[in-house]
Symmetry: C2
Subunit: 352 residues, 2 copies
């Protein structure tokens, strides 16, 4: 699966790289910024879900390439704006867009380079959103009917964009609220919007292209969308779990950083909900430290384990995974089903 | 004309107000922010150009309403992001989106409210861009063919969005460059991208809907696009002129603010180009003051007049206006032509 994923990623990369859209963007450093994230590589999970969902239902996978590329570009523009909002400096091992643009300003202009970087990164993300729309609209060029192309674009903007951006907004809001007032259910809802919505769209887009279903009413289309959405939530729950229970050697220094950031994860909130008051207060008071010793972490892990929260999260992820696997089992038995099954395993069993 | 414009504005307002798109945005204050600018009124010049260009070529004007509303929403999201970039506090007499959201954060959250306001305003603009796409795609519901609806959306994102955002980027870049290195031609190019591109699209969209021309190849479609683009540049040149030569009583305290901001206007750059070195240096040294006395302004006006720059700007605007009027004269003689003619006069002869 990893080899085939790599090959698909290379094809989507070259589809994006050969798109003349960014060429006419001025000034040149903004053009380069627009190309930057979409060309930085990465696993291309969303394109894989779109393309393989198309193949799963017997579609010509090349027809799904514009949609797959559009979804990847769409995902990347949300990252550019997220990185400004989160004040992040590094993305996939390189400077974030706003930091790279700030460095450019520092070299060439006499101005507040931080602000310049953020301002131009806003515009870069805006252009990428426009580029994503344009790329999806090019589906007609690979034989997708005009009606389905319209329906896909409408669905991306009417549903996925609105949900992804609402999810991002709720995430930012949760980061400035006191954890005591946030429920685990609220965080799950946020994760569904922020992560699963675009995965759901990717899968439905692929299936709708295969089945030529502009109304997205075929049970196969709905089912594969649910498959991807469930995989997304299970992935997120695993991510939260790894952030506390992961192996220091494998997962690296990220362990405990969610605690430092007082991040409202389902795991943490569930623990606070289930613990007796005194212990919940103790855990609450441990949040926000710059560093956690191995002993601190053991204490936190103990709370999460003993409260039963860890178990619940693991069970919840397992149930979502089982549901996703059951959906796949009901789909046509072909190599694409096998690839999607392996992708699911990869997402929910990774240890870093 | 003003009465009919007001009536059309009311219809577009009610079209936008009745759109359920923003309803499902979370959290509620972000939903309100997304609705804010598009519902704040304003002249609705872009919708008028779209709708009347449709009527001009015999189209059913109602068919152009989704496009007209989409263009207005599109214009408004660029304003939301521009206002963050320009650090502006007021828009149409009310707080800008990021300032309104900052005030909300101050009341409800314990965080850096300025940053919160900017972050959420980024997301509000992003959602409005998605909303604009969705609105344009609804053109099929008013009888525009799927092929033309696709073509309109493609043109908005492939051409107008890219040009408008490149124009905005060049504008920001010019604001941090030394005026000595910027040519009047560069500023004209920026204005064309930033302002005329969307006006051009509005007119072409209306005409293409009337003539069902998904390739935008009919001479009428090209001509009316040029009409709107020329009107846009003439409007901007007039705006720059009013910023220096306008009447204090009528134009208000904005007179001279371009000088305070060292704004790279065509008028200023042309003056610096044409003046003898010593006087150019004198004018250059007068820039960036917080306030200008009536005497200072008279000195600046003298430079602009005596260098011949004022005349050139006025001639240039007049030539663009004449060209726009000539284009209209070649169009069908009907009430919509009359409305567009009056709109042109209003744009290029206004004194505030």
């Amino acid at each position: 699966m990893k080899e085939i994923l790599k090959q698909l990623a290379a094809e989507i990369d070259s589809y994006i790289a050969s798109d003349p859209y960014p060429e006419q963007i001025a000034p040149p450093y903004l053009r380069d910024a627009v190309r930057d994230y979409p060309m930085r590589g990465g696993k291309r999970l969303r394109p894989a879900i779109a393309v393989w969902s198309c193949g799963l239902f017997g579609g010509d996978v090349r027809r799904a390439y514009p949609a797959a590329a559009a979804i990847e570009i769409f995902h990347n523009w949300t990252l550019v704006h997220d990185d400004i909002i989160d004040d992040d400096a590094v993305r996939r091992g390189c400077p974030t867009t706003h930091c790279a643009l700030a460095a450019h300003a520092k070299a060439d202009f006499n101005c507040d380079s931080g602000k310049f970087g953020r301002d131009f990164a806003i515009l870069a993300g805006d252009l990428q959103q426009a580029w994503a729309a344009n790329t999806l609209l090019k589906s007609v060029e690979t034989g997708v009917s005009p009606a389905l192309t319209l329906a896909l674009t409408r669905k991306l903007y009417e549903q996925a964009a609105r949900e992804v951006l609402s999810g991002e907004a709720l995430d930012v809001e949760q980061s400035v609220r006191d954890l005591k007032g946030i429920s685990a259910a609220e965080v799950e809802h946020m994760l569904f919007l922020k992560t699963s919505s675009l995965l759901n769209f990717a899968a439905q887009a692929g299936a709708a292209i295969a089945l030529n279903d502009p109304e997205f009413v075929r049970p196969e289309v709905k089912a594969i969308g649910e498959f991807a959405a469930n995989a997304g939530i299970a992935f997120q729950l695993r991510d939260d779990w790894l952030g506390i229970f992961g192996d220091f050697e494998t997962f690296g220094k990220g362990i405990g950083s969610d605690l430092s950031a007082r991040k409202a994860t389902v795991l943490l909130l569930k623990t606070l909900e289930l613990l007796p008051d005194a212990q919940a207060a103790e855990l609450y008071n441990m949040l926000g430290r710059e560093n956690y010793t191995a002993k601190d972490l053991e204490t936190v892990r103990g709370f999460m384990r003993d409260s039963g929260a860890e178990c619940r999260i693991i069970d919840q992820a397992a149930a979502l995974t089982a549901n996703a696997r059951e959906i796949l089992a009901g789909c046509p038995d072909n190599p694409y089903r096998n690839l999607l099954d392996q992708l699911l395993t990869f997402l929910v069993e990774r240890d870093r």
